[in-house]
């Protein structure tokens, strides 16, 4: 038994090393610099290179580490092991494999471009991997490795969160919420009967940390506190309210508004607007391009004469995808309002 355990321990270490190598290989492949011109729309979706298209796109459910963590791919060996032992599988294991397998295929074929579709299986695959792994390591000869199994997965997941600054971001956003929890820990440790001295020391430490944090906030100049809140917290809700207010004052009997991929104009205002997706140069109303084969002046004529449009709502971010549209805004329009966040209302000069 001891020799079996030792052999299993060695295999576990080897398996962990292989898993780590696979993960680092994926990091390496997705970080390769693209050769030649980059398609902005593909870059936005993180699928602009061949490697990224396959790893982040088609195989995104498993290998898009930035969005889904670096453990999902472990479902592949788990499923293979299950299939190798298909005679022993329970009914519910079969049901899971059928549904999961089919969903993975659908996501790979139809959802490869949109990371949100690949998210669909996240809350199934992580419990599945962890549960299957736990069951595997619950065998008598592997039980001593169960804790290590969880520790290795924790380390890999934590590394991914650290690499992509996710831990950092979450801490930045939530620090002002986490800090009051120090008071809770002080309460719990202060009441410790088993470790009265240690409990009180930890409790005092927690209170001291909380107080230091509080004093630091109080000593900050008020504008800096406001700035911190604006940048880091949920009070940062930059919305183009000025543009939206102006839209409600326009006389739509004379012409409409073109909104560049901003559906907020329909929800927050009573605008009459034509929807345009600049990133694809696609106008919903005509099911056609607006800038394709046209000069900025021709775009202005087309919008005015064919679509009855007087105003344009767009943002710097949306403009960045379409050079002709940007040129049209600069050369053929007057900026009526420039709002936050880099969001503007333009009037076509005609």
């Amino acid at each position: 038994m001891e020799s079996t355990k030792r052999r299993n321990s060695i295999l576990f270490v080897l398996g962990s090393v292989v898993a780590t190598c696979v993960i680092f290989l994926v990091y390496y492949l997705v970080e390769l610099e693209p050769k030649g011109a980059v398609d902005a729309a593909k870059a936005y979706r993180d699928v602009e290179t061949f490697g990224k298209l396959w790893l982040n796109g088609y195989g995104g459910h498993f290998f898009h580490f930035l969005y889904f963590g670096n453990l999902n791919w472990l479902a592949i060996p788990v499923v293979l092991v299950m299939l190798a032992n298909f005679k022993k599988l329970s009914r519910e294991a079969w049901a899971f494999l059928i549904v999961y397998g089919a969903c993975v295929l659908i996501v790979m074929v139809h959802g490869y471009f949109t990371y949100r579709y690949k998210y669909t299986l996240s809350f199934l695959v992580i419990p599945f991997i962890l549960y299957a792994g736990y069951q595997f390591f619950s065998r008598e000869s592997l039980k001593h490795l169960r804790g290590w199994f969880m520790l290795v997965l924790l380390a890999l997941a934590a590394y991914n969160a650290w690499k992509y600054k996710i831990i950092f971001n979450i801490l930045i956003y939530t620090s002002f919420l986490v800090m009051p929890f120090l008071l809770y820990f002080a309460y719990v440790f202060f009441r410790s009967k088993k470790y009265p001295k240690l409990g009180k020391v930890v409790a005092l430490g927690c209170i001291a940390m909380f107080s230091l944090w509080g004093v630091k906030q109080l000593l900050k100049p008020s504008d800096k506190v406001a700035d911190t809140f604006n940048k880091r917290t949920f009070f940062n809700h930059r919305m183009p309210w000025q543009v939206f207010s102006a839209l409600d004052t326009i006389d739509y009997s004379k012409g409409m508004v073109l909104t560049n991929n901003s559906p907020g104009v329909y929800y927050f205002t009573n605008t009459k607007a034509v929807y345009y997706k600049g990133v694809m140069d696609w106008c919903y109303a005509t099911n056609d391009s607006i800038t394709g084969g046209r000069t900025p002046a021709e775009v202005a004529d087309y919008l005015k004469d064919s679509l009855n449009i007087n105003y344009v709502v767009s943002s710097a971010f949306q403009d960045s995808f379409n050079a002709t549209f940007t040129a049209f805004l600069v050369k053929e329009c007057d900026r009526v309002i420039e709002d936050d966040p880099a969001f503007s209302l333009y009037r076509i000069r005609r």
């Binding site: 049901a95 059928i98 669909t120 962890l130 997941a157 919420l177 410790s192 949920f234 109303a285």
Partner: protein
């Protein structure tokens, strides 16, 4: 506005969830699935049930006053609760049990009883329900803050909300080759059923009844379902090992997509909840062969379809897996159950797609049409 939100939340999340929980408990005669687990599923069913009913009302009885829609649906929730009033005691005992456990876990001082060393006590302190409850409270506080402070601001969310506004203004759901609103020139090119856009309509109806303005309810959906998703993952693995459950939550939280969902409004948590719950209930139904899981799966599948096209695409696969993996005689046992599930899929969400294919836009079988 605050009061409108609170009343809406009590009716939709509270009464709606309770009504469906009691129904699931009623069918849970074998008790193979715990009532606490059913509570977890039912906690997400209220909003989808409300918009399912609203869908049928706006389709079959259009053009009524706001109070008619709000009143009818609220009345139905209350009627369902009254129908199952005998189970109310059990339900409240369950909720009390969960809250008591939460309180006990959080109140427990450091250092457990017995002859454990310090290291073991630290382990027990960290690897306990307390850690999850603290995370849950943190996320809940964050969610409430965000709901209050942050306007609807992400692209897709505003697409659905805008269509919800159109439904509210028209007080009508009809089918045609294009979904175009003449007043705003808004063209809805979404391929999904209306469960999610109708959440905004439901919000606007409540505001209409009370003469207020606001969309806190629509905003709250994202976080409500995010909390439920984390709770569902934790609950299922907690039964195996608390360390495993905490690891799952850690892995799921510390990804960019979760950070996005914590920061921005989206349809995703809503649709994911129903899809994930449907699969969990499928596994339960196959394992236990009981009616509670089967009906729960049927309803969740329909709600998943109502929320997103992906949900309806997977329904035949789920039905097939259920038929193949269920124990018992094919004709006598399995087919009737699959029939019930298929009917539930249809009535609670999938029907829209059939109508849309036959008399509407054609769904995915035609190019998206324009004006």
């Amino acid at each position: 506005m605050v009061l409108t939100f609170i009343i809406n939340a009590i009716v939709t999340y509270g009464l709606g969830g309770l009504a469906l929980w009691l129904c699931l408990m009623r069918w849970n005669k074998t008790q193979k699935v715990s009532n606490t687990e059913l509570l977890l599923y039912a906690a997400g069913m209220g909003p989808a049930a409300a918009t399912l009913l609203l869908y049928y009302l706006l389709w079959l009885l259009p053009g009524q006053a706001d109070v008619f829609y709000v009143g009818s649906i609220s009345f139905l929730f209350v009627a369902l609760i009254a129908w199952n009033k005998k189970l109310l005691g059990t339900a409240f005992a369950n909720v009390r049990g969960v809250l008591k456990h939460m309180g006990r876990s959080l109140n427990e001082p450091f250092g457990s009883e017995g002859e454990h060393g310090l290291i073991e006590d630290v382990k027990r302190f960290v690897f306990s329900d307390r850690t999850f409850f603290l995370f849950f409270i943190l996320l809940a506080v964050w969610s409430i803050g965000l709901t209050i402070a942050k306007p609807l601001n992400s692209h897709d969310m505003l697409i659905y909300a805008s269509q919800g506004k159109v439904f509210y203004q028209d007080k009508l759901i009809s089918y045609g080759p294009v979904r175009w609103d003449e007043a705003s020139n808004y063209l809805y090119i979404g391929l999904h059923a209306f469960s999610f856009p109708l959440q905004t309509t439901w919000d606007l109806l409540w505001n209409g009844v009370f003469g207020t303005k606001g969309d806190w309810y629509t905003r709250s959906l994202n976080f409500h379902y995010l909390l439920l998703l984390f709770s569902m993952a934790y609950y299922h693995l907690r039964k195996v090992d608390v360390r495993l459950a905490l690891l799952a939550v850690f892995v799921l939280v510390f990804t960019k997509i979760s950070l996005d969902k914590i920061m921005y409004y989206s349809l995703d948590t809503y649709r994911l909840f129903f899809f994930t719950a449907m699969v969990f209930l499928l596994l339960k139904a196959v394992k236990h062969n009981d009616w509670s899981s089967t009906i729960g799966m049927g309803i969740m599948g329909g709600f998943a379809a109502g929320a997103h096209s992906f949900g309806v695409i997977v329904l035949p696969i789920v039905g097939f897996a259920f038929l193949v993996c269920l124990p018992g005689h094919l004709i006598k046992d399995r087919l009737p159950k699959v029939g019930v599930v298929a009917l539930l899929f249809l009535l609670t969400g999938a029907l829209h797609y059939i109508i849309d294919i036959l008399w509407g836009t054609g769904w995915i079988f035609q190019d998206i049409k324009f004006i």
